[in-house]
């Protein structure tokens, strides 16, 4: 239990972290809705999902998995660096994370473009001619990776913002809960991708 006094308002770190964890729960549940749909439709159309999965490019998906894992590592290292007082290094590592996020999005852009070029996107005539199972597969694929992509984009902005705060000294070795929380968010975005990758690209 914290004891706040009227004179000063010390920052409540545990409170800030608790808030962030609750927020992460809500994110998990937001994606949870899509994963439920995935589970139900997979059970209904195992064939269609297999055929759909075969058409996704494992190299793109696998590459992006590596990119995100690396970026998770760089945030984690940034936090440690800041805790140990190495401000410069921390800033650089957050910068690396931002670049990784951008890289992920560029990859995603090419991957989606290729699919769209082949006429596979939600309301395309080509997709509508495919059997139901494959249609559902691609529709969930676009929605899930799209929603995830938006999260990567948001994460990129958050990381950039934290980078600016570090530069300005507002996030520093004595007060780094903002970086920690941004890191938690980033790990979650990464974690969700770790589920998306096998479910869509490696499906048997």
């Amino acid at each position: 239990m914290s004891e706040t006094t009227h004179a000063e308002h010390p920052k409540d770190y545990s409170g800030a972290k608790l808030g962030m964890w609750l927020f992460l729960f809500t994110e998990v549940l937001l994606f949870g809705g899509l994963f439920i749909l995935y589970a139900v439709y997979l059970q209904r159309y195992p064939e269609g999902f297999k055929l759909g999965g075969d058409q996704l490019n494992v190299w793109f998906g696998g590459g992006n998995t590596l990119v995100l894992l690396t970026s998770s590592l760089s945030v984690a290292m940034a936090i440690t660096a800041l805790q140990r007082g190495r401000v410069r290094q921390a800033a650089n590592l957050v910068g690396v994370t931002v670049i990784m996020a951008l890289w992920f999005l560029v990859n995603k852009f090419f991957e989606w473009s290729a699919k769209i070029h082949h006429g596979i996107y939600p309301s395309s005539g080509h997709l509508k001619e495919m059997p139901g199972g494959e249609q559902v597969f691609f529709n969930i694929y676009y929605l899930t990776t799209g929603l995830h992509g938006i999260h990567v984009l948001v994460g990129m902005f958050v990381m950039t913002w934290v980078l600016i705060l570090i530069r300005k000294g507002k996030v520093n070795p004595d007060d780094y809960v903002t970086l920690e929380n941004a890191g938690l968010y980033w790990h979650l975005v990464d974690l969700i991708w770790i589920f998306i990758f096998p479910l869509y690209y490696l499906i048997l």
Binding site: G19, F25, T26, G33, Y41, K128, G132, I140
Partner: protein, 540 residues
């Protein structure tokens, strides 16, 4: 909202404008009491809007045939009535308005854990409300799907459902942030001595509600996003011709919307639980049972959603399982009702307005709850599903329950916030009219529903005329009651006699500070040495 009459009263937080003037002192303030009042006045506004729409619905139904509105207009009216009442009034109503106003004071904190996030929540709510209103007049006009947005109609209709879903998404996000804020506040900001078992039960109910809000609302978020995607990019996930399944929409929708009815009712129960012991001058009966039953309702309520889908074509096993689970929720609800009654038993009761509204709550909520069992039993539900019986039932719970609790909370806590008292006799008149009108209005609906009148139609068979006319007359009586109540309470709050710090003799912390409370709630560091219903030690 600022009052102008000069008064000998201490103005407490009303004077602390933070250097801002006029409306800016409100919409940019991070003081939980100011945000609470922002929420209070916005939810009250939408309650009035929704009530007018409800009266319009009843007016159309006074006699068979299209009298005042076209069928399309009627569809838009009930959709709007539902959306406004659910998303703009009742979900934020008690937690965001009264929760913000009194919860931090009840636990002896000076504000919520994240004051700026709190303000952001209100802004998101306001933006969502504006978008919802915009959707009425733009691109295709007012949505006509009912507040449930069921596919396939919500995907095919040309009305502006897309914008309405975005509005619901944003309002939902606002609720999540409030819930998150309250959870952290209750965990981290309690005053010294405020142990978990000394927390007032209103705050306990907010705690349970906040969990449901945080855990269930994201599912609503994804559901309305899917409707949006379905309409904008044609994703077809609920379209059977494209391999989708419309029943999946119903599942997702109710996975949120059943728990949402606990977001609506739990804080109302909390208000009642705080009021009853004060006016019975007796410690609440079964404190722990009430606190735990809130959590039990929140938990059990999360696994009963498909009782709304008995006739959807879902498997019979699922129907039976969900029916059984639904009956289980009745247990913790009944625990509360019995505890309230046991608290009253042998108390020295003073029949002040807050208690009268609380008594109506118990009565009306019990009827709502028991008729809920009729709907929970699969066999009878098939018969009354989508009839006026359902409309009667959920108004008994939501309006007779939470709506009355909201008004009880106004009579109980607003004198604390404003420092002035309303006329008690007029409040009793308002209460009598409202309760009587309410019963006439909705009891008639239940009866006509049992006779087979379906909901969501502008027209009905002539044989249903009698009950419909009675119901509409009830709606007028109820409206008179509401007018008396609101006129009286606002006259009192702005011009009434000073209320004093503890007009009701409450023992929880909000009654120990001055009325109105100072900016950071207490002039001293509160130290808690007894429970919230310990009237012997709690009252000076």
């Amino acid at each position: 909202m600022n009052q102008t009459t000069s008064s000998p009263l201490q103005r407490g937080f009303w004077e602390a404008t933070g250097g801002r003037r006029g409306i800016g002192a409100w919409i940019f303030s991070t003081d939980h009491k100011r945000i609470g009042l922002l929420y209070f006045y916005s939810t009250l506004l939408f309650f009035c809007v929704g009530a007018l729409l409800g009266l319009a619905l009843r007016l159309e139904l006074f006699s068979p045939g299209a009298d005042f509105f076209t069928p399309q207009q009627y569809n838009a009216l009930f959709t709007l009535h539902g959306v406004v009442m659910i998303f703009l009034f009742i979900i934020p109503g008690i937690p965001a308005a009264f929760g913000n106003l009194v919860m931090p004071i009840q636990i002896g904190a000076e504000d919520v854990a994240f004051p700026r996030l709190n303000l952001l929540s209100w802004w998101l709510y306001a933006i969502g409300a504006i978008l919802a209103l915009t959707s009425l007049f733009t691109a295709g006009g007012a949505p006509d799907t009912g507040w449930t947005f069921y596919v396939p109609f919500s995907v095919r209709t040309t009305t502006n459902v897309s914008l309405a879903t975005v509005a619901v998404f944003i309002i939902g996000f606002s609720g999540i942030l409030t819930g998150l804020n309250f959870l952290v506040t209750i965990h981290r900001m309690r005053a010294p001595g405020m142990t978990w078992w000394r927390i007032p039960l209103f705050t306990w109910s907010l705690y349970a509600t906040a969990w449901v809000q945080v855990l269930a609302t994201p599912v609503l978020g994804i559901t309305v996003l899917l409707i949006f995607a379905e309409r904008i990019v044609g994703s077809g996930l609920f379209d059977p011709t494209r391999g989708g399944d419309p029943i999946m929409y119903q599942h997702l929708f109710w996975i949120y919307s059943h728990p949402a009815v606990y977001i609506m009712i739990l804080p109302g129960m909390g208000v009642i639980t705080d009021i009853i012991p004060v006016f019975a001058r007796k410690p609440v009966f079964g404190y722990k049972a009430i606190a735990i039953s809130s959590l039990a309702i929140a938990g059990a309520g999360s696994v009963v959603w498909a009782h709304h889908m008995t006739t959807s074509g879902m498997s019979d096993t699922a129907v039976l399982v969900f029916s059984l689970l639904t009956f289980l929720v009745a247990i913790p609800s009944a625990v509360k009702v019995f505890n309230w009654v046991a608290t009253l038993y042998k108390g020295s009761i003073s029949l002040d307005p807050p208690l009268l509204f609380a008594l109506s709550f118990i009565f009306l909520f019990s009827i709502g709850g028991l008729t809920g069992l009729v709907l929970g039993a699969a066999a009878t539900d098939v018969h009354v599903h989508d009839t006026y019986f359902v409309v009667g039932h959920f108004h008994f719970v939501m309006f007779g329950g939470t709506g009355f609790a909201y008004i009880a909370a106004m009579h109980y806590w607003l004198p604390k916030i404003y420092g002035r008292m309303y006329n008690r006799k007029a409040a009793v008149w308002g209460w009598a009219l409202m309760t009587f009108g309410f019963i006439v209005l909705y009891m008639s609906m239940m009866i006509v529903g049992m006779e087979g009148m379906p909901r969501r139609y502008y027209d009905y068979l002539p044989k249903f005329t009698f009950w419909n006319q009675l119901s509409t007359i009830g709606s007028w009586i109820l409206a008179c009651g509401l007018i008396v109540i609101f006129v009286n309470i606002f006259r009192g709050l702005f011009r009434g006699k000073p209320a004093g710090d503890n007009p009701w003799g409450g023992a929880s912390l909000e009654w120990q500070t001055s009325s109105p409370p100072p900016l950071e709630n207490f002039d001293y560091e509160p130290e808690v040495t007894h429970g919230p219903y310990d009237f012997k030690r709690g009252c000076p």
